[in-house]
């Protein structure tokens, strides 16, 4: 029982960041119809920025998180502006190939800049785990979960309660009609990509002090984000949040009770299963947003 609860806690912590990655990717797909292969690289970028700001420049941990997220938003906006805007109206395969090219170039640049040796990011939390009855959890992990949940809530409010959210949902449903109603379509696309990228970057920055930072860390993450998005249904934000937690639970329990070597394969087996049994995703009747 203790072991079971411990797995649950671990899965919750992991699930929070998975959900952040998932909603960023699904937002971009839902609104822009772009399968974003740079998502994992934005995650890596966020982690390296946390390393540069927190470790090399010695900035405050919380400030460096904030700055890493901001830089992620900025980089996302640049990618959208330079690579995707000129391709407006191109089919999904074309944008996908451009994004793959961009992802490879970004990863190789990281490798070139930082070398293959993994980096560590310091954090100000006490190293001793907090013990709640049978389960123990490191304070930094609790912090990560707290920030992730706060961001999920903030994102939900942004989409459902603000004028910007209304404009984004309108663009998702019908870009042309939204444009006729005075929504700046180009701006919506740039914002969407920037916000999605920022979420990936902050997920990377949050996990940086827990895991190591290395250039290829985005590879698996990219694919896991796809798994999460498929679980929830492409373009379904609530589905992606739940999908993030589902994947984390499947991985954690699969690794704990079945085989730890196949931990990272669980997600892929899960999406292959989902696509065979329920291709529209677990939580959606059809593609939707909000």
């Amino acid at each position: 029982m203790a072991e079971f609860l411990q797995h649950c806690v671990n899965a919750l912590v992991l699930g929070g960041t998975y959900a952040l990655l998932g909603i960023g990717l699904t937002l971009i797909f839902g609104i822009m119809r772009v399968v974003n292969f740079t998502h994992g690289e934005l995650y890596t970028f966020g982690a390296y920025m946390a390393f540069v700001l927190g470790s090399l420049l010695g900035l405050d941990f919380f400030l460096s998180l904030l700055l890493a997220a901001t830089l992620g938003v900025a980089l996302g906006a640049v990618i959208e502006f330079v690579l995707l805007r000129p391709l407006k109206g191109a089919d999904i395969d074309t944008t996908m190939l451009v994004m793959i090219g961009a992802g490879i170039a970004m990863q190789a640049s990281e490798q070139l800049t930082w070398g293959g040796v993994a980096k560590m990011v310091p954090h100000p939390f006490p190293p001793d785990p907090l013990v709640f009855g049978p389960v123990a959890v490191a304070p930094v992990r609790l912090f990560v979960l707290g920030v992730a949940v706060a961001l999920l809530v903030a994102f939900y409010l942004l989409i459902n309660r603000t004028r910007l959210g209304v404009a984004m949902r309108a663009t998702f449903q019908d870009p042309d009609t939204a444009a006729l109603m005075g929504v700046n379509k180009g701006l919506m696309y740039t914002l969407t990509f920037a916000i999605g990228s920022g979420l990936a970057a902050i997920a990377g920055a949050l996990l940086a002090p827990i895991f190591l930072v290395y250039p290829t860390m985005g590879d698996l993450v990219s694919l896991k984000a796809f798994a999460i998005v498929i679980l929830g249904g492409l373009g379904n934000i609530a589905g992606a949040s739940i999908g993030g937690f589902v994947l984390a639970f499947v991985e954690e329990f699969g690794a704990g009770y079945l085989s730890s070597g196949y931990r990272d394969a669980m997600g892929f087996l899960l999406i292959i299963a989902v696509l065979i049994l329920r291709p529209q995703g677990l939580f959606a009747a059809k593609e939707r947003i909000g």
Binding site: T94, I100, A108, S109, L112, F226, L234, D264, A265
Partner: protein, 358 residues
């Protein structure tokens, strides 16, 4: 006039092709540099992979991003059959498979890869577009995880080594293993030519026209009675088998295989080769393959491998932006326009228009 040109094309095309094969067969051997030979052998193996990917990507229009899985499965199967292996199926005694002759192993690799192509084709074509892409990527990832973790069978990260080379039976001498690079190069060239001819025959046939019909307009193809799923499965099986053959050649040439053969970056390399050369053209993967097979070797002198990947990534973007149809159609279009201009200046636009619609 146009028909005249087409008949001359039909004559000169194969002639040029066979001339190219002859040059490739004699040239490098005459040149005799082992390093050049090695580069060309690896390039040839990748070209076979790229040609098989082109069948899916170019002719049926399905973006399969797990193609390296078939290559890796072919490589592993061929290596295991040639080495012999035990399989613990839960009985008291593990089932022992003794070492098989290399060519039997090679054939086995093709068949197993084709079988997985059949499975993936059946599963994946229930979903299209972005979903299909992600299923194929996931498939390659799962294959890599299995290769890493099924240590009893695959040796995991320690890699399978000591794989026998391809061999030949000679009267009087029996079975002679072919260690020398020259023989491996010629075998790769031969398999590449056979693959090319198979694809050529296929796309010229009814089946090939069905593929193109699917790519251009799937609902229309369906409405005239083309069994979409069946043809897509056929394409995947053939493409997977061919990629498996490339994997087999790789495994018996390099003679060591580890889970990294399943890396996504190798799929991307093949995709870049097909796109740059021209998807949906016969010569495209060959041109793109030669370009991206040889370029890294030239870059190696002046730049680190990371720079090579940056060049790959940027090349991919540049191709999509500026030569979206690839080099072969672009050069072909240019050539046709020049010829047309020389022969009949007035109808130049007409011929150019025909080229773009083809």
């Amino acid at each position: 006039m146009t028909t005249d040109r087409m008949t001359t094309d039909r004559m000169t095309g194969p002639l040029l092709g066979w001339l190219f094969v002859l040059v490739m067969a004699v040239g490098p051997l005459w040149f005799g540099d082992l390093y050049v030979l090695h580069v060309l052998t690896s390039t040839g193996i990748f070209i076979i992979g790229a040609m098989s990917l082109n069948l899916l990507l170019g002719y049926t229009g399905q973006l399969s991003l797990g193609h390296i899985a078939f290559f890796g499965i072919g490589a592993y199967t061929s290596a295991l059959l040639a080495l012999g292996f035990d399989l613990d199926l839960g009985g008291s005694e593990p089932v022992v498979f003794g070492p098989k002759p290399v060519w039997v192993a090679f054939l086995g690799g093709i068949l197993v890869a084709a079988f997985f192509g059949f499975l993936i084709g059946k599963l994946a074509f229930r979903v299209r577009g972005a979903y299909f892409v992600i299923v194929t990527i996931s498939f390659a990832q799962v294959a890599r995880m299995v290769a890493l973790n099924w240590v009893d069978l695959t040796e995991g990260p320690m890699a399978l080594s000591g794989i026998p080379p391809l061999s030949v039976w000679l009267p009087g001498q029996g079975v002679v293993p072919l260690y020398a690079k020259e023989y491996n190069y010629l075998i790769v060239l031969a398999v590449a030519v056979i693959s090319f001819l198979v694809i050529q025959r296929l796309v010229d046939s009814r089946v090939g026209r069905a593929f193109v019909a699917l790519r251009e307009n799937e609902p229309l193809a369906r409405s005239v009675g083309i069994d979409v799923t069946r043809y897509l499965v056929v394409a995947t099986v053939i493409a997977a088998g061919m990629a498996g053959a490339a994997g087999g050649l790789y495994t018996h040439y390099i003679r060591i295989v580890d889970p990294d053969v399943f890396l996504f970056i190798y799929t991307v390399t093949m995709v870049i080769m097909v796109l740059t050369g021209g998807k949906g053209t016969l010569a495209g993967p060959v041109v793109g393959g030669l370009l991206f097979g040889i370029m890294p070797e030239l870059l190696r002198e002046v730049a680190r491998p990371e720079v090579q990947w940056i060049v790959y990534g940027v090349a991919m973007i540049v191709v999509v932006f500026f030569v979206p149809r690839g080099i072969v159609p672009a050069v072909g279009g240019l050539w046709a326009r020049t010829v047309a201009k020389r022969e009949r200046p007035a109808s130049a636009t007409l011929v150019a228009g025909k080229e773009t619609s083809a």
